[in-house]
């Protein structure tokens, strides 16, 4: 399965492009799904170390607000993206230095607490952030060009897809490196790592910063795609959603998050269309079903199918 991953990734990308071409409104949904997949990929790295962050939406929110604040002055996507990603990564480093001292439930809750502080600040400093109303994001240029709507949508989709590939490859290399391998050590027997001379905190910190960077990139894409940012991006239920997608996709390879995100967005859009006031219930039931009957997530289901086809 692992060897088939690059091929599957290409096939998946081709399928996404096909869908985006055939159904224009889905292009938007899929761009968001790819962005969320990026953030979830970060969650997945932490999950490898057995740590659940219930506050990672804050880094996406930081990325998104950086874009919103910077876009009127410097509206170039190719500058905004690295800027947002860098600032989110920097915040991840600062928070990570403190938070990687904690494990399990404390790790989860501290992430939650810090994200709620950010959420409250975005809400409270109305003069700067426009509170819950949020900020409208000015249109951006792509390498100096300002395309009309249709092309701009395609450009955002392409950027999201490229970043998904880029970060996917880096994450794969990272997981295969000694640093990445050590993550699993934190989950099982952390002290052993340290006996072997591997500082567990550094291992976790590297994964934490990497995950913040990816969440920041996700936030930047979301901001440039929806063109409106609100504090809700940092609320704890949004963070919960990211963890939800990680489990839905399955913890296998780096494709899981994107698979999960695409499935999640599609379920949500269709649940919202079919029963507008019961979409939470629908998602909750879907999540329970996956956990109870397909514990490996969608990726696990695919892997089983794949094996059966080969057998």
């Amino acid at each position: 399965m692992r060897r088939a991953e690059p091929l599957l990734a290409l096939a998946g990308a081709a399928a996404l492009v096909g869908i985006a071409y055939a159904a224009p409104w889905l292009r938007f949904v899929l761009t968001i799904a790819l962005a969320k997949g990026l953030a979830v990929l970060g969650i997945l790295l932490l999950l490898k170390a057995g740590q659940v962050s219930f506050g990672h939406a804050m880094y996406a929110a930081v990325g998104a607000y950086v874009v919103a604040f910077a876009a009127p002055g410097m509206g170039e996507a190719l500058v905004l993206l690295p800027l947002a990603t860098g600032i989110a990564g920097l915040l991840g480093l600062v928070v990570g230095l403190f938070i990687t001292r904690y494990r399990e439930i404390f790790f989860s809750m501290l992430n939650l607490a810090i994200s709620m502080v950010l959420y409250s600040m975005l809400e409270k400093f109305y003069a700067i952030t426009k509170g819950t109303d949020g900020i409208r994001v000015a249109p951006v240029t792509f390498a100096g060009l300002s395309p009309e709507r249709e092309s701009a949508e395609w450009a955002m989709f392409a950027i999201a897809l490229l970043l998904a590939f880029g970060f996917g490859i880096v994450a794969r290399l990272y997981l295969a490196s000694p640093m990445g391998q050590a993550l699993a050590g934190i989950k099982t027997r952390e002290t052993r790592l340290e006996f072997m001379g591997v500082p567990a905190r550094h291992v976790l910190l590297s994964a934490y910063v990497f995950s913040a960077v990816m969440a920041g990139a996700a936030g930047a894409i979301i901001a440039m795609t929806t063109r409106h940012v609100t504090p809700l991006l940092a609320y704890w239920t949004t963070s919960g959603e990211l963890v939800f997608i990680a489990i839905l996709g399955g913890a296998g390879g780096v494709l899981g998050p994107f698979l999960g995100a695409a499935a999640y967005e599609l379920i949500r859009v269709h649940a919202a269309a079919a029963f507008a006031d019961l979409w939470q219930l629908t998602l909750g039931i879907a999540l329970l079903l996956v956990i109870l009957f397909a514990p490996g997530g969608l990726w696990g289901v695919l892997a089983r199918l794949f094996r059966r086809v080969r057998a």
């Binding site: 809400e123 426009k130 509170g131 109303d133 929806t226 409106h228 609100t230 949500r268 919202a272």
Partner: protein
């Protein structure tokens, strides 16, 4: 053979037309659609669903009635509802889905100001007529033109100015005021509008406390203690829904409303829930003129039919979102009638529909509403003092004053805060007529 080719050509053409031709191009001579699709964004989850659900009920009920009477321009109407609850990102995606995939002909956007601010630029991009059916933010039309967006009711500026004028007339000698608003756009903006207008109309009022408890708070005990200790002459709160109900219950229990005069510009929808708990003699507004005890509606029979129709169908009294949804629907009917007439019976395209909305005047049971050239609707405001009658189990206004919309709205092209600064003391004696 020939027949075969023609059929294949037709199929090909239809196929390509559907896939490749953008909607607006293929729509030049527009055929009458099989159904008139209306996308409606409203709160179906979260605290603001106290407005969203009655709004949806009103839409379902009125569209049912319209369809039973033959639809709009002979076309049956089909509403598509979208929940604003999950946030802007979800909403923006759903807006696109409705326009690009479902092919809705018109959008009704949003209760929350945030949602409206996100949807109006989309209406520009997608060139789709969008009716702002309930949100009140003055930013919508003051921060740039939106050629496809129209608001079929009043907005923040008149909705705050009318209660202020009423206060100046009712209690001209007040010297101190405290504000307790929800901490979000409406709470902050409405206070800015009020403060600007108050400083112009009655300079020198002391503001003893500005409190903005978290949006969706459920406990105001601490704020009430502070207000009890400060004893301001007037307490302004533009809060609504569960929060206003909670605030008034907690404040009444602790006799705060005996010490200070309350001004509640969005009081009306909370009155049924408060029932007899609401003390009499405080200033209440309804974001419009559609009070259930309106003493002189334009069309008494239509007004009673509307109120009773909603009441019997849903066993609850209609509150302002019901009226606002109805106004959007009546405006839609009027605009289609106008556009079809202008095209001498032909079905209008998106641009022609938008043209019909500009400057449209449509009747409501209480009065009539005109959409200005910037898209903003002019709706009368009625403010009064809470009181109890035999007819209703909850507080309704007495000593009502009606304020004509044009005199209390910022003129086209002016920002509300700039315009409010130009007001002069004594305006309360010139504007507004007792009912």
């Amino acid at each position: 053979m020939t027949a075969e080719i023609t059929r294949r050509h037709a199929l090909l053409a239809a196929g390509f037309g559907g896939v490749l031709l953008p909607h607006t191009l293929s729509a030049q001579p527009v055929a009458k659609p099989a159904e008139l699709k209306v996308g409606i964004t409203t709160f179906l989850s979260g605290p603001a669903s106290v407005f969203g659900v009655p709004g949806r009920r009103a839409a379902e009920w009125l569209f049912d009635e319209i369809n039973r009477a033959g639809g709009i321009g002979g076309v049956p109407v089909r509403p598509f509802f979208v929940d604003e609850g999950p946030g802007t990102e979800h909403l923006v995606g759903e807006f696109r889905r409705l326009v690009q995939s479902e092919g809705v002909h018109v959008m009704f956007a949003s209760i929350s100001s945030g949602s409206c601010l996100a949807c109006t630029p989309l209406s520009d991009e997608l060139r789709k007529t969008t009716i702002l059916w309930d949100c009140g933010t003055q930013r919508s039309f003051e921060e740039g033109p939106h050629p496809f967006a129209f608001r079929t009711q009043g907005y923040g500026t008149p909705e705050v100015l009318a209660p202020l004028l009423y206060l100046l007339k009712h209690k001209p000698d007040f010297r101190s005021i405290a504000v307790l608003n929800q901490d979000y756009a409406w709470g902050r903006d409405s206070w800015e509008l009020w403060k600007t207008a108050m400083d112009a109309l009655k300079p020198g009022v002391r503001v003893v406390a500005e409190m903005f408890p978290r949006f969706n708070s459920t406990d105001f005990s601490t704020e009430i203690t502070r207000l009890l200790a400060l004893r301001p002459d007037v307490v302004l709160t533009t809060s609504w829904g569960g929060e206003l109900t909670t605030l008034i219950r907690q404040a009444t229990e602790r006799r705060l409303l005996e010490r200070s005069l309350f001004v509640m510009p969005v009081g009306e929808p909370s009155m049924p829930a408060l029932a007899r708990t609401m003390p009499a003699g405080h200033i209440i507004g309804a974001r419009g003129d559609h009070w259930i005890n309106h003493p002189a509606p334009r069309d008494r029979a239509a007004f009673d039919r509307f109120i009773e129709g909603y009441r019997t169908r849903f066993s609850e009294y209609p509150i302002y979102p019901v009226h606002h949804m109805a106004q959007a629907i009546w405006a839609l009917q009027a605009a289609y009638a106008k556009a079809i007439e202008a095209k001498s019976g032909g079905w209008p395209n998106d641009q022609e529909l938008a043209n019909a909305f500009r400057g449209l005047t449509f009747p409501t049971p209480t009065a009539s509403i005109t959409l200005r050239e910037d898209g903003q609707g002019l709706e009368e405001q009625i403010v009064g003092l809470s009181s109890f009658t035999e007819r209703f189990p909850y507080a309704v206004p007495e000593k009502m004053i009606r304020y004509p919309a044009a005199e209390i709205s910022a003129p086209v092209g002016q920002k509300s805060t700039d315009w409010l600064k130009t007001l002069r003391p004594g305006m309360e004696t010139r504007v507004g007529a007792a009912l």
